[in-house]
């Protein structure tokens, strides 16, 4: 892979943090090269002049899909909590939370 990678190792580490992943040094190196190769391939579209085209988020132009405000059955709590890694007093248990929600 002789091409210049469009992203740096530091960016790879930063992105891993955003995604809550931890990478070994080897993985950082591999991912930097592999992601770089994919992004280099994407150069074929980044160089296009697409001015005026509406970004396409959905295949079809549906709008206003709404449901009536009518209650439906909730889950059985025991069945739901049975799948949880840790539970206490009918709630999902986690360790210490550092920092308030943003």
């Amino acid at each position: 892979m002789s091409e210049q990678s469009p992203l740096t190792k530091e960016e790879v580490i930063h992105v891993a943090g955003l995604a809550r992943l931890e990478l070994t040094d080897d993985e950082v190196t591999t991912f930097t090269a592999q992601l770089g190769s994919i992004l280099n391939h994407a150069a074929d579209i980044s160089s296009l002049d697409l001015e005026g085209l509406v970004p396409m988020a959905h295949p079809f132009d549906l709008e206003n899909i709404l449901r009536p405000d009518v209650p439906t059955a909730s889950l059985d709590r025991e069945e739901l909590l049975a799948g949880a890694p840790s539970v206490e007093s009918g709630r999902f248990k986690v360790g210490r939370i550092l920092g308030e929600a943003p």
């Binding site: 709404l66 449901r67 405000d69 209650p71 739901l80 210490r96």
Partner: protein, 474 residues
């Protein structure tokens, strides 16, 4: 600490829970106080494979809010706001970003100030964490327990322009906003239950300067906290500046007990929410017909309702305005208007409604309320007796106030009986009478009290005073 030479710039973000039957994107009940994790389903716990479907009623409430705040209601869509937090089950929040439902509104405060509304957009609420160990707060806790009953409850976030200049004004804004949201039926407005939550953006500057660096204050769960926190924060910032320090843009936490704001110092990781259009939902494009249908069904808003009462009373001194605000806030204005049209004096009806009626409980019928006010105004009932009759009406709202007054033994004293009683009291208290007759007006209360005691509270205070004055001048 002093604000001399500085002004405070305040913008508010108010999160308001909508009063729907079900959550924003699923059919689970939107209810406060149920057993943990009983109002949950794959959608609001974020189980793999689940998909959101938008609640029509929540949209209607959001549009009502937008219209009541004079916003443009627009073509909009939903975005994902990505961040990890354990009370947020999908680790993204479905919110609105650059295309919110409502934009560019205004709200007029009772003092006439107009505050701009930047936007009022829809989003989902998070679950709730309970912290174990430590002080029950997040800091120092060993573990947390999460209940997702609140997860997915519909919210409208109302973002104001930085148009407020004092804590008092910010408080008035939230009070007025709350009154509007309650009036349109979109929320119950209970700040103490968290159904309205306020974040304040505060900065200070010397008048004419550009805006200063702002701090966002969280955890403001009462009007009182809001005002105190803003006033504290403004002073803190001025002190910083005067000490030659720079204000750091940050999120601060209001500590109600300590009466101060503190830095939340969240981790260094800068927020990068990676907003992108929510692919599981389609755009929300309310038709002009639907918007008009909602607009035409909007109830009268608090400002208009207050004006009706001002018109009825013909008096807008501050004390009256405060009573009127209370009456409207408690939804008692319709009763007052009806009682007034049935003959009750409006000023008295407003006063008694504001102070004596329990808006949460059973209210008297308009006819009974009007009759009671009329009896008090004519002197047939003393103020004390009128209040007792109103209290009795909360048990039997349609009862005849005259019958209640009779059953309570509130027959009006004949003028002769009252006159005789006054004379008896005067002769039994010769020293005091001499001083009253000599001009010591403070003793009027003494004689009224004696007459009231002798008549078991049946006497009309005004009538007693006029008799005393007759005797003194005669």
């Amino acid at each position: 600490m002093s604000m001399a030479g500085y002004e405070t710039i305040i913008g508010l973000e108010v999160h308001c829970e909508l009063k729907t039957e079900t959550k924003l994107f699923c059919g689970c009940r939107n209810a406060f106080g149920d057993e943990p994790n009983t109002n949950v389903c794959p959608v609001c716990v974020g189980l793999p494979g689940s998909l959101p479907v938008l609640n029509q009623k929540a949209v209607e409430f959001a549009i009502r809010i937008g219209l009541a705040l004079n916003c443009e209601v627009k073509w909009s869509n939903f975005h994902r706001k990505n961040y990890f937090y354990p009370d947020m089950p999908k680790d993204f929040q479905i919110s609105q970003y650059d295309l919110p439902l409502n934009e560019h509104g205004t709200i007029e405060l009772p003092d006439g100030t107009v505050v701009g509304i930047t936007r009022a957009h829809m989003e989902e609420d998070t679950g709730k964490s309970t912290h174990l160990g430590g002080s029950g707060r997040i800091h120092g806790a060993d573990a947390s327990l999460i209940d997702y009953n609140r997860s997915g409850v519909p919210l409208v976030e109302i973002v104001s322009e930085p148009d407020m200049r004092s804590g008092v004004q910010a408080r008035a804004y939230v009070a007025e906003l709350r009154a509007i949201l309650v009036a349109v039926g979109a929320t119950d407005g209970r700040m103490e239950e968290g159904s309205m939550r306020v974040d304040a953006n505060v900065s200070v500057r010397k008048p004419g300067d550009p805006f200063g660096t702002r701090c966002e204050i969280k955890n403001l769960n009462s009007l009182r906290s809001l005002q105190r926190a803003i006033e504290y924060e403004a002073l803190r910032q001025v002190d910083c500046i005067e000490a030659g320090e720079r204000i750091v843009q940050e999120t601060r936490h209001w500590d109600e007990a300590a009466g101060r704001t503190g830095s939340m110092r969240s981790k260094e990781e800068a927020n990068d929410y990676r907003y992108f259009p929510e692919p599981d939902l389609v755009p929300l494009a309310p038709s002009a017909a639907w918007i008009e249908e909602i607009r035409s069904a909007l109830p009268a808003l608090p400002k208009a309702r207050r004006q009706v009462l001002v018109g009825l009373i013909g008096n807008d001194d501050q004390a009256t305005l405060d009573l009127i605000a209370t009456v409207v806030d408690r939804d008692l204005d319709a009763l007052v208007v009806e009682a007034a049209s049935a003959g009750a004096p409006a000023q008295l009806a407003v006063t008694r409604a504001a102070n004596e009626l329990n808006a949460e409980g059973v209210l008297p019928s308009a006819k009974s309320f009007a009759t009671t006010c009329q009896m008090e105004a004519s002197g047939a009932l003393s103020a004390t007796q009128a209040k007792a009759v109103l209290a009795a009406l909360s048990e039997t709202p349609d009862a005849d106030p005259k019958a209640i007054a009779a059953s309570l033994g509130f027959e009006q004293l004949s003028e002769d009986t009252l006159s005789t009683t006054v004379d008896e009291v005067i002769s039994a208290n010769g020293d005091e009478w001499a001083r009253f007759a000599g001009g010591d007006d403070k003793l009027a209360q003494f004689f009224i009290g004696k007459v009231m005691a002798a008549t078991k509270g049946k006497a009309n205070g005004k009538a007693v005073i006029s008799l005393l004055n007759e005797r003194r001048s005669g």
